[in-house]
């Protein structure tokens, strides 16, 4: 069944079952592989994307529900907050294996877009849905604070 979805500012036609999770459509039909599969049940956050500016676990979001909504993936990040997050992530060498980091960056970006000066508690709440098995959490926290400072400058 042909569906039209808006991903990273572009209207895209895909011929898939509307029940297909957005994750697989993004990765396999559109070739945007920065968004990762981790658990398939919205527990780990590796598949986090933005839908209308909010975080969404794409592994548990049927693509049929995306009509008329704007999907952003790691490849389409462009906001000032997103750029600050990515810069801070690189400067602090947050990553280890890196597999979860697209999702972490997507969650951190929404946090800073909505709350440019988050406290540690705000960070804990916003990032609680993103698992990092390498446990880079201390640097994730530091990078969010660094990005926040950069946004205030």
């Amino acid at each position: 069944m042909a569906l039209s979805i808006n991903v990273n500012g572009q209207a895209r036609e895909v011929d898939v079952d509307p029940e297909t999770p957005l994750l697989w459509v993004i990765r396999e039909d559109l070739g945007l592989t920065g968004t990762k599969y981790g658990c398939g049940i919205a527990q780990c956050g590796a598949c986090t994307v933005h839908v209308d500016g909010e975080t969404m676990r794409s592994c548990a979001a049927p693509v049929g529900a995306m009509a008329g909504r704007k999907v952003t993936t790691i490849e389409g990040l462009s906001s000032r907050a997103a750029k600050a997050v990515q810069k801070a992530w690189v400067e602090l060498d947050v990553v280890q294996c890196g597999y979860c980091q697209s999702g972490q960056i997507m969650s951190a970006t929404v946090l800073l877009e909505q709350n440019p000066k988050p406290t540690d508690t705000d960070i804990d709440q916003a990032m609680a849905g993103n698992i990092c098995r390498c446990a880079t959490y201390q640097r994730i926290r530091a990078a969010i604070h660094a990005a926040s400072k950069q946004l205030a400058a």
């Binding site: 898939v16 079952d17 297909t20 999770p21 697989w24 990765r27 396999e28 039909d29 070739g31 945007l32 592989t33 920065g34 968004t35 990762k36 599969y37 981790g38 658990c39 398939g40 049940i41 527990q43 780990c44 590796a46 993936t73 790691i74 490849e75 990040l77 990515q86 992530w89 690189v90 060498d93 947050v94 990553v95 280890q96 294996c97 890196g98 597999y99 979860c100 980091q101 697209s102 960056i105 960070i123 804990d124 709440q125 990032m127 609680a128 993103n130 698992i131 990092c132 098995r133 390498c134 446990a135 880079t136 959490y137 201390q138 640097r139 994730i140 926290r141």
Partner: protein, 754 residues
């Protein structure tokens, strides 16, 4: 030293036995850990290994199997370094990058000796070629593990860089008609006092014509410009991992690529009886439903399609035997076994002075669960049979095993099998795999569809977590006494648990019935404990065992270091003082303990309500001590701060070392709180992150890492930060008046965490 590394220190005959088991040619080594290979004239690639000087010469290398990627350069003096006319330096990494930062480390070592500008350094992964890229700590085998990447490569990568530097300098000296001693090399630029100047790229072609020096001079640690410098070597892989372009196995794109999932045996050892593929084949996108040795593979276009297809598949399994295994029953069996004599692995020296009788005795039985690695990227491998050859793409952490097993599964000679090694989304031991489970299965699927298309075998999270290959369950029974003077008066110790290496090509590590990975940390230990009498029982199970970040030390450190605290308490001594008295033969172990205690303010927690616990453990040649500050509020335990001291010899990349300690601490804390795979009715009860919980950001303590300055050759950091964490936390809980936790994880022991 880890047994994997001891393997390398064994006799050449033993090493060659391993090489033979792997189907590899015999291995020769020369001094300083640099394996050198010279190829006879006209015999490029035929690979006679002889122990004489020189890396692989350029001409021979050009004829050898190609290195991945576009990195060529006229200057290619050995298998590790390229200098291109574009002025980029490419370092070929023989080790697998799964987050631990070794690509950055390997590149730093070569680039430092090369005096390269770090901003111009690139890395790429070596092909599977054990002749060129063997782990010098693993004998003839190419592979990454045992926290050995930096340790075994230290002189090799430095020599590789120094060779290229010497050739660039010699070329500049020739071109400028000045003595080589007057040519300066710094930040990828050659210069002379006369004002002559050339970049490495400009001099690369001329340098390639120079003869590689037989023994290039290496820097002294004081001359290092990159190694040991705090901000000199940012990670080589940060940018690509922050913008979604980093390439993992799951991201491989090939023309016509199909995806496969397998209906795996539901219980460990279940046998396939029959299957009905009719409904599965009706699912749109499913192209094939085929039997493979592992189970039934559903192949098709897209992951969702094949997952749906598998759901519709009907399979009948014989679980008459396999459905019986139960981890609680197993634990009871292990505990009973722990009360009986096993195979001895430590006995008091015959001439040991007679000990005073114990006035206080502590008896404890410890229980450790199965643990899954739960890498963020579930296991996967792409296999493509075409044109009489096989190509695979995966996180091949043990390329030599994967190469051998892929060749066997495909029925093709090894030279017709080409492995492409990609980044791994974590491993923690899972991809360092003497069974090559994901590689073999992918090849079997590719064969079952007659090589019609490249196929990516993907494990779902549930497949991955239910596949076995766990850190085995262990039980320790310990009885130790304290005499009237507060000294240890005796120590009886029994360990029960599966052997990780038995039945694999690494089984030669077992000596006199003892798998060293079952007991490392009890014996050997840096503590002076001549009174230890210890036995091992090694049961076998249908659940395959595997190493899990820090291997045997995951459980031995917990037992040893909580016992230390209990014995210190019984002796009425401070736990730090009590330990130091037993470390008269290990300055490095004592050193990290003192440093961690000093930086943590031992005995003076940051605030009221916190208790400090301390632990120290040696693993893989590195020493780590940690002080955990723990609170207990409304019965809920919270680890608030961990101060970590590490001595890993020369600190090649201090920030990577800190990152590994932080990561080890979070990884270990998650396992301490929640980690357990229970086996019920023969199958894993926990199959995803909803029940097999991982540490989350709000549970991460504040971590401070201090590195002991050292000029000793480096040892690893990927694992040694794990072992001390759990006992340090447990010791703090005991100090807070909490229970002595002897059943892990906390969730099982009734300890609630915040």
């Amino acid at each position: 030293m880890h047994p994997l590394m001891q393997q390398a220190n064994n006799s050449p005959a033993q090493r060659n036995a391993l090489a033979k088991a792997l189907g590899m040619p015999p291995v020769a080594e020369v001094g300083a850990g640099v394996t050198r290979r010279a190829v006879l004239a006209g015999g490029a690639g035929t690979g006679l290994l002889i122990a004489v000087g020189g890396f692989v010469p350029l001409t021979a290398f050009a004829a050898a199997p190609g290195v991945e990627g576009a990195a060529t350069g006229p200057l290619a003096p050995n298998q590790f370094v390229r200098v291109g006319t574009d002025n980029l330096v490419t370092i070929v990494c023989k080790h697998h990058e799964m987050g631990q930062g070794n690509a950055t480390g390997l590149a730093s070592m070569a680039a430092d000796e090369l005096d390269a500008d770090w901003a111009l350094v690139r890395t790429e992964f070596a092909p599977a070629d054990a002749k060129l890229y063997a782990n010098l700590a693993f004998g003839g085998m190419q592979g990454t593990g045992g926290s050995s990447a930096i340790a075994n490569s230290y002189l090799q990568m430095r020599t590789a860089g120094a060779t290229a530097r010497a050739m660039l300098v010699a070329a500049a000296a020739d071109a400028w008609k000045v003595p080589a001693s007057e040519v300066k090399a710094s930040n990828s630029v050659l210069s002379h006092a006369s004002g002559k100047r050339a970049t490495y790229g400009e001099m690369a072609a001329a340098a390639a014509k120079q003869a590689p020096p037989a023994n290039p001079v290496l820097k002294t640690p004081a001359q290092f410009t990159l190694m040991g410098k705090a901000d000199a070597t940012p990670r080589v892989d940060s940018a690509e991992k922050c913008n979604g372009t980093a390439m993992y196995t799951i991201d491989v794109k090939l023309p016509g690529l199909l995806t496969a999932v397998i209906a795996w045996p539901p219980s460990f050892g279940a046998k396939l009886v029959s299957f009905d593929a009719a409904d599965a084949k009706k699912v749109k996108g499913v192209t094939d439903v085929v039997q493979v040795p592992e189970g039934v593979a559903v192949v098709g276009k897209g992951t969702w399609a094949v997952l749906q297809g598998r759901r519709a598949l009907k399979v009948v399994w014989d679980e008459a035997e396999s459905g019986k295994l139960d981890s609680d029953a197993l634990l009871a069996q292990y505990k009973a076994q722990a009360a009986t004599a096993g195979k001895p692995f430590a006995r008091p020296a015959k001439d040991a002075p007679k000990m005073a009788p114990a006035t206080k005795t502590i008896e404890a039985v410890y229980e450790f669960p199965f643990l899954a690695h739960a890498t963020m990227e579930p296991m996967n491998c792409v296999a493509w049979l075409h044109d009489g050859m096989l190509e695979t793409w995966s996180g091949h952490q043990f390329p030599t095993f994967d190469h051998m097993f892929a060749s066997k599964a495909a029925g093709l000679p090894m030279e017709k099998v080409k492995l492409h090694t990609l980044l791994s989304g974590g491993s923690f031991g899972r991809r360092a795999n003497p069974y090559s489970d994901f590689t073999i299965a992918a090849v079997n699927v590719a064969k079952a569809i007659d090589g019609r298309a490249p196929v990516r075998l993907q494990y779902s999270r549930e497949d991955d977590m239910g596949a076995g290959l766990y850190r085995p369950m262990y039980v320790h029974a310990v009885k130790a006494g304290i005499d009237a003077q507060g000294r240890i008066a005796g120590w009886q110790h029994t360990v029960v648990g599966q052997s990780i290496v038995a039945g694999t090509a690494m089984a030669s590590m077992i000596k006199d019935g003892i798998d060293p990975t079952s007991v490392e940390g009890v014996s050997p230990t840096p503590y002076t404990l001549p009174m230890i009498s210890a036995d091992l029982h090694t049961p076998t199970l249908a659940v395959r065992p595997l190493w899990w970040r820090s291997v045997g030390n995951t459980h031995t450190a917990y037992v040893m270091e909580t016992m230390m605290d209990e014995l210190a308490r019984a002796a009425g001594k401070d736990p730090l003082v009590f330990r130091l008295a037993l470390l008269d033969k290990s300055d490095r172990a004592a050193g990290v303990l003192k440093l961690a205690a000093d930086k943590a303010g031992w005995g003076k927690p940051t605030r009221a309500g916190l208790a400090q616990g301390i632990a120290m453990h040696e693993s893989f040649g590195s020493f780590v001590a940690q002080v955990a500050e723990v609170s207990m509020k409304n019965g809920k335990v919270k680890v608030e701060r961990v101060v970590c001291a590490v001595d890993c010899g020369v600190a090649v990349n201090p920030d990577v070392i800190k990152a590994q300690m932080e990561g080890c601490i979070g990884f270990a804390l998650g396992a301490l709180y929640y980690g357990e795979i229970e086996v019920k009715n023969g199958r894993a009860a926990q199959r995803n992150f909803d029940t097999y919980k991982a540490l989350r950001i709000y549970e991460m303590p504040k971590v401070e890492v201090y590195i002991v300055p050292s000029t000793v050759a480096p040892t690893g950091v990927g694992e040694p930060g794990v072992p001390p964490l759990a006992p340090a936390v447990a010791n703090a809980i005991a100090k807070l008046g909490g229970p002595k936790v002897r059943r892990l994880p906390f969730a099982r022991a009734g300890i609630v965490t915040a």
